[in-house]
Amino acid sequence: MSEIILEARNIDFSYMDGTKAINNLSIRIPKGKKVAVLGNNGAGKTTLFLHFNGVHRPQKGEILYKGELVNYKKNQLRELRKNIGIVFQDPDNQLFSASVYQDVSFGPNNLGWGEEKIRNKIEEVMKQTGTWELRDKPTHALSHGQKKRVAIAGVLAMEPEVIFLDEPTAGLDPMYSNNIMQLLDEFNQGERTVIVSSHNIDEVYAWADYVLIMHSGQIISEGVPEDVFRNQETIQKANLIKPWVLEIYDYLVEKNRSGPGIVIPKTREDIMKIL
Amino acid sequence: MYFKRILLTFLILMIIVVIPKPASAMHIMEGFLPIKWALFWTITSLPFIILGFFSISKSINKNPELKLLLGVSGAFAFVLSALKIPSVTGSSSHPTGIGLGAVLFGPLAMSVIGFIVLLFQALLLAHGGLTTLGANTFSMAVIGPFVAYGIYTLSKKIGFSQGIAIFLAASLANIMTYATTSFQLALAFPGSTGFLASLGKFLGIFALTQIPLAISEGMLTVVIYNFLAQYSKSELSQLNRKGDTPLSRNVPNE
């Protein structure tokens, strides 16, 4: 396996009301990969990532960033929050200013960069996310998809090394979803780590290099998508189903209509070539 | 001719007494007060806002999360005052939310939030105004909350039930707010027969007609409070913990 960027060792976390959100969880996230996290609402996905950026502190166990133990000292925490960006599911919980431009400037401002650097960075990420034309509009006049992209811009503006997105495509139509996934590919380029949580199995299967399945605060399965989704037991436990492309491919293999030697298909186009 | 005049006068008076008066029309409008009174009420309100400001600054310094809570609460207060609720007489009006706010946050924090909400009402809804911001702040964000707070504390001391204490606090705060508005208007426009006669006029128009609306607001506040006390206990107690200043000191722990 490649270099590990984030690691959790036997961590436990309960919320104030007593809900156990993370239960003796260990995970190693490989650097530069496109990682997908599956698991129903309440499985602890967001809570886990709030541990990686230091907002939550595990009640037991430890967190490592680039192999270094997180010690929760102020400077290291700042470093962590800069480098591990989180895009929350509901953009209305993240965008606090009615000005798109102001909102994107918030993160860089907290990093204490000079004004010119901040302005250049804002322009860059807003162009990258296709939100530059929206800069004169108030946040409340944006569509849901536009708000999502602004929220992404606000996180990218801090130049993170890892970015975690909580259901970036939920409630978006297929075209918008594709746009966002492409944007994430651009950001990734094999160097920076992108982690996405999703309910859309087909999308995840086609996009991710590495898949984690969470269930009741634990990781119950991890690996390359082909392996994870073929494990009937764990995907059932997590209320998931097999991606259709994989199911059809496996069916074809079983009926000897396609050899197992070829590259496993990921997308519609891939599978049509086999048929 | 003489009789006709009397009849006409009577008709005009009836019309102003009878027409429904939504609370939005009860903020003193921009430019309505002569400049000296506008200044006077601005200066009168200022100490309360400054005190409230220091009180919330202190709490926010201890707990930066409180800033966001006050922000969303201000937005909540604005939305509350922007919606129309039905009144016992069948007409409808905007609730003031003064009683609820005072019970949730305490009167000093309410003076700051109330001040900002009034500014937003002027700029976004054209209710009230900038030159009358001081006068409106005094009636709605100072007198109202302090009356609510006082009545609530007193009622609890007398031994009234929670529901009655909340009802009295909210409805009397509403009435006293508009009595204050009448007082401010009577001072500014004493007429030829003096302040008292004028106060009678304005009270008749702005405070008496408010009674059914005040009763509705009292009932509404009770429903809201019961709901919160039963099902948002954890939120209320957090509010209690966060506000170790006057903020929310009087949220009961059941």
Binding site: R78, R81, I86, F88, D92, N93, F96, S97, S99, Y101, Q102, F106, R119, D136, T139, M158 | R5, I6, T9, F10, I16, P22, S24, A25, E30, I35, F53, S57, N61, E65, L68, G71, V72, S73, A75, F76, F78, V79, L83, I85, L100, I116, L119, F120, A122, L123, L125, L130, T131, L185, F189, T193, F202, L220, V222, V223, I224, Y231, S232, Q238
Partner: protein
Amino acid sequence: MFYVDQYVYTNQLRKIHPLEKFLFSIITMIIGLVVNNPAINVLIIVLMLGVLIFWARIPVFVVFKMMMIPAGFLALGVITIAVNFTTDTNEMVLFIPIGGYYLGFTIQSMFLALTTLLRSLSSVSCLFFLALTTPMLDIIYVLQIFRTPAIITELMLLIYRFIFIFMETAFNIYTAQSSRWGYSNFRGSINSFGILFANLWGKSFIKSQELFISLLSRGYEKELKVINQNYYFSFGSFFIFVIIDIFILIAA
């Protein structure tokens, strides 16, 4: 969602420096208040509405609908000023006798009412100029120029943002309730409204916690530090504003 909000982002004066618009509005308003002369107040009303309609390009019907908003308060307030008690019917235009007194309208009281009405309308037109041409965030920026404490401007920033979110939520809850007969009588209405506001409050509370976490993730410590897009002064508009105010002053 609010009348003002639809036009404030699209009006033709949007790009003018907010300080220019703010000062123009406030100075003109103060002139109207201090001079307190019906003719000058009429002049201010005409000039302000003219600027809004012909320069800012706000539709005429919007401007007049806005001017109707204060009508409720003004009607009440102005008539109450106009009504007077006296013992002497000589100066009264209309009256009814009550006991030894007369209740009615005198010439002075009606003049006072008229002066107040026009003064108020002239200030209102200045307020509308500001409200319709200057977005809230620009006004907050002006307050920052005047060294308003950061806590106040930050609270304003948050309140402005969340007003729209909560309005939408309140509207959605209201719709869901009325779809289930929640507002079919007075009792039900008070109950439904109570539930609506209680829910909204609960949601506001959760919202503030989630917002806190998301801001922490972006490096929030104590202040909501942001930068604005650059604002530019324009000599032309500044000149026009000054000319208008000088013209009003000369007329006075």
